[in-house]
């Protein structure tokens, strides 16, 4: 089930003011808090109500008032200013929902007893919002970038009904072991046509799918990709599972990315931190589909994680806090937080982080029963 609880997405101390206010609220880093403290009551007064003291001593700030905030500007300006302004248009892609949404398909059994999972994917042209107010003319699977996360178990029969409702020829190329005709490379699906991909899910691990029509670079960076998870038969240990696809957008089409993100929207998880609980095991399905700057990375703050490269082996590969992936590479990472508080995660390419690929885990103490 998608995590839609907005209130849980807000760090402790910034209690929600109501659904609309939550969207407009921007959190302060500790450094900003110190600065506000140093500024003192006079500074707060000078800010003319732009700063609001909240119960618990934390400070909420209007991120976007369209007005310069006098004393507040000097208080928050400095190093806390990295981020975006404004809000996403309602009704569009919700990265918070995407994190935990898995499509498991229509399930039935073949005569042989094998599980059959059927999926529908439709390629459509759609304008998407990659940062508040910044729109990108994308090519999508099912109207979203990344496409829906498809999930099955090793050995399942997977049947994907693909319809091309877009304006250019497209395909779906699944990573995995399958017949050549199911590889989604040479069988171009023209606009208005359809194609059915069918194969047995193998090997287990973290796979992906993307369009393989030419020119490949454009078909990928326009948004035709998604995550494809094949679970091992015995399953993985229970954990809070999150899907993170590292992507980027060249909004002015100069073959350089303007916006970097995990799950499309720049700074989304900075503005809407992902709630976790101390002691709760977490698992991230991490995929890199960055175009142009192909090498991307994931760095976790205040913690280390177990790394399973491609997720095709249940033995941990490394115990680390940073992993680097080239385009198309993926990794399963597992960790448990020992301390409560806000913890950053981001690309350890500073430029990518500052252009949007940065988020926050809001780790809370487990509720006492």
């Amino acid at each position: 089930m998608p995590e839609r609880d907005e209130a849980r997405g807000v760090p402790r101390g910034l209690e929600p003011l109501g659904p609309s206010a939550v969207e407009r609220q921007a959190r302060l880093t500790r450094r900003e808090l110190l600065k506000v403290g140093a500024l003192g009551a006079a500074g707060l007064a000078a800010a003319g109500g732009a700063l609001t003291l909240r119960p618990g001593g934390a400070v909420a700030r209007e991120a976007e008032g369209g007005r310069v905030q006098g004393g507040a500007a000097s208080a928050h300006g400095w190093h806390g200013g990295n981020g975006v302004v404004g809000t996403l248009e309602p009704g569009g892609f919700d990265p918070t929902a995407y994190l935990t949404h898995f499509e498991t398909g229509r399930v039935s059994r073949l005569a042989s007893g094998q599980v059959l999972r059927e999926f529908d994917l439709v390629a459509v042209d759609r304008e998407i919002e990659v940062a508040p107010g910044v729109f990108f003319p994308a090519w999508t699977y099912n109207g979203q970038v990344p496409g829906p996360t498809l999930r099955c178990t090793e050995g399942d029969r997977v049947r994907v009904h693909f319809v091309n409702a877009g304006s250019h020829p497209h395909t779906i190329h699944f990573h995995g072991i399958h017949a050549a005709a199911m590889d989604g490379v040479f069988e171009l699906v023209e606009p208005g046509q359809s194609y059915t991909y069918e194969f047995d899910a193998a090997p287990f691990g973290l796979q992906l799918y993307h369009c393989h029509a030419l020119p490949l670079k454009r078909h990928i960076h326009k948004g035709l990709y998604g995550v494809f998870i094949i679970d091992p038969r015995e399953g993985r240990p229970p954990a809070r599972e999150l899907v993170m696809l590292m992507n980027a957008f060249d909004t002015n089409f100069d073959n350089e990315n303007e916006v970097y993100a995990v799950n499309t929207v720049a700074f989304h998880y900075q503005r809407h931190p992902i709630p976790l609980t101390v002691g709760e095991p977490a698992r991230i399905y991490l995929v890199n589909m960055t175009e142009f700057d192909l090498i991307n990375s994931f760095h976790l703050h205040g913690n280390f994680f177990r790394l399973y490269r491609t997720g095709t082996d249940l033995e941990r590969y490394e115990w680390t806090d940073t992993v680097t992936l080239c385009q198309g590479e993926r990794a399963v990472i597992e960790f448990t937080y020992e301390h409560a508080g806000p913890f950053m995660f981001h690309a350890h390419q500073s430029e990518f982080a500052e252009l949007g690929w940065m988020g926050i885990f809001d780790v809370r103490e487990a509720p006492r029963v």
């Binding site: 921007a26 991120a63 976007e64 008032g65 369209g66 007005r67 310069v68 905030q69 500007a73 000097s74 928050h76 300006g77 400095w78 190093h79 200013g81 990295n82 981020g83 975006v84 302004v85 404004g86 990659v130 940062a131 508040p132 107010g133 910044v134 729109f135 990108f136 957008f249 909004t251 002015n252 303007e258 916006v259 720049a266 700074f267 430029e351 500052e354 252009l355 949007g356």
Partner: protein
């Protein structure tokens, strides 16, 4: 003017070469209700008919859009022009932007040094055609280092600008006003007055040598005029597209001489043909040029692009002292011809007219630089200088027996150019 607007067919008796003003007066004196008056009404209707139809068509298009196939077939062309970046305080940047494109543009995000940065826009984020906005970015800029600012619009297009050397933008207070005034005095006033001190020398030289200096003045002025024209064209490239920088240059360069010629004709008709007129016109032309120069110096100084070192001050002294010579040479020549001597106060007035605008320019340039105004000032300056060169030429023509082909005169003109070029080496920053 009356010649242009009246119908030529209605005045068959008008003779080419007749006094224009008298003719205009006679038309105005025609009694109301006369056949001529009625004819004029019909003529006016003929002139206005296409305009009325044009207005109706514009209204129709505004309401219903143009008939045809070219509506919304392609994404709108966005054209933002970043006019000025200021750093008013540590940790604060301000970007002034104008929309010179055909469609409204929405600023969605701002990047500084390849990082998305929070900011605010005074007024709405959507900028209408020819509208301006100021974007305030609380960013920890670093003294002496370059910074790059990129505006991202709602369609994902980007508009970039660069702060070459970050330094705090001077605020208009007593101290900066006086230091900018000093800048103008060094670059404009002092050199011009120094040049004026050649007056006694020029009075003593032989007529042939005076001609030489007049030709030298022409050389100086031609150089200054071309320089101003080049500056005007250069800055016109920075003007937002809709304001048509090149057209502004054209208007300035062509319009100014015409306006000055009209004014001078008025003066001479009133019998006030002063020997100082030519010098006054030259001083005005040089003053307009120096206004533009002040703008550039002030702006460059404010943005930290130039440091006003000893070398540059000396350069301006050498370069602009020639301007003073340019003013007094025609004064002496004209005075000599008409046996009038300019008074001390008039000379000071001429020097102030030519030099003081540098101070004004430095103030304007330092505190609110605008490519549009800079372009216009330089174009007007170029036009004024062009007019002045023409006036000196006329002066020679009236006196007769002066030729540029004369080796001494030709040498003077060339030396004027060479002098400006050589001294210009010192200010080429």
């Amino acid at each position: 003017m009356s010649e242009v607007t009246s119908d030529w067919a209605s005045r068959p008796g008008s003779v080419e070469g007749e006094g224009r003003y008298e003719d205009a007066a006679s038309v105005a004196d025609t009694p109301a209700g006369s056949p001529a008056r009625a004819l004029r009404g019909v003529t006016a209707a003929k002139g206005l008919a296409p305009l009325v139809l044009l207005a109706a068509l514009v209204l129709l298009f505004f309401r219903f859009g143009p008939a045809g196939v070219f509506q919304q077939a392609f994404p709108p062309i966005e054209a933002l022009t970043i006019e000025r970046v200021t750093l008013p305080a540590p940790g604060e940047m301000r970007v002034r932007v104008v929309n010179g494109g055909p469609e409204p543009v929405t600023i969605a995000q701002v990047m500084v040094d390849d990082a998305l940065w929070r900011h605010s826009v005074d007024g709405g984020r959507t900028i209408g055609r020819l509208e301006r906005r100021t974007i305030r970015i609380p960013y920890p800029w670093v003294e002496g280092e370059p910074h790059r600012i990129v505006l991202v619009t709602s369609t994902g297009l980007t508009f970039a600008t660069q702060v070459d050397v970050a330094t705090r933008t001077p605020q208009p207070d007593g101290r900066t006003l006086s230091s900018f005034a000093l800048l103008g005095i060094y670059a404009g006033v002092v050199p011009v007055f120094l040049g004026l001190l050649w007056l006694p020398f020029l009075r003593d030289v032989h007529r042939r040598w005076l001609d030489f200096f007049l030709c030298l003045t022409m050389g100086l002025l031609v150089f200054l005029g071309v320089e101003a024209f080049d500056e005007a064209l250069g800055t016109s490239a920075l003007v937002a597209g809709a304001f048509q920088g090149t057209a502004l240059v054209l208007i300035g360069v062509v319009g100014t001489p015409l306006a000055l010629a009209a004014v001078s004709r008025r003066w001479s008709r009133r019998g006030g043909s002063s020997p100082l007129y030519l010098a006054g016109a030259i001083a005005l032309g040089i003053g307009l040029h120096n206004l533009g120069e002040g703008l550039v110096i002030g702006s460059a100084y404010a943005s930290g692009e130039i440091a006003l070192g000893t070398f540059l001050v000396i350069g301006f002294l050498l370069h602009n002292t020639t301007e003073g010579l340019g003013i007094v040479a025609p004064v002496v020549a004209a005075a000599g011809a008409q046996r009038v001597t300019p008074g001390f106060r008039r000379l000071v007035g001429l020097g102030a007219l030519a030099g003081a605008p540098t101070i004004l320019g430095a103030w304007i340039g330092g505190f609110s630089y605008s490519p549009l105004w800079t372009t216009l000032f330089f174009a007007v300056g170029a036009g004024a200088i062009l007019q002045v060169v023409y006036e000196i030429w006329q002066f020679f023509a009236r006196r007769g027996n002066v030729s540029l082909a004369d080796p001494l005169n030709a040498a003077g003109l060339l030396m004027g150019l060479a002098l400006m070029y050589t001294t210009g080496l010192f200010v080429a920053a």
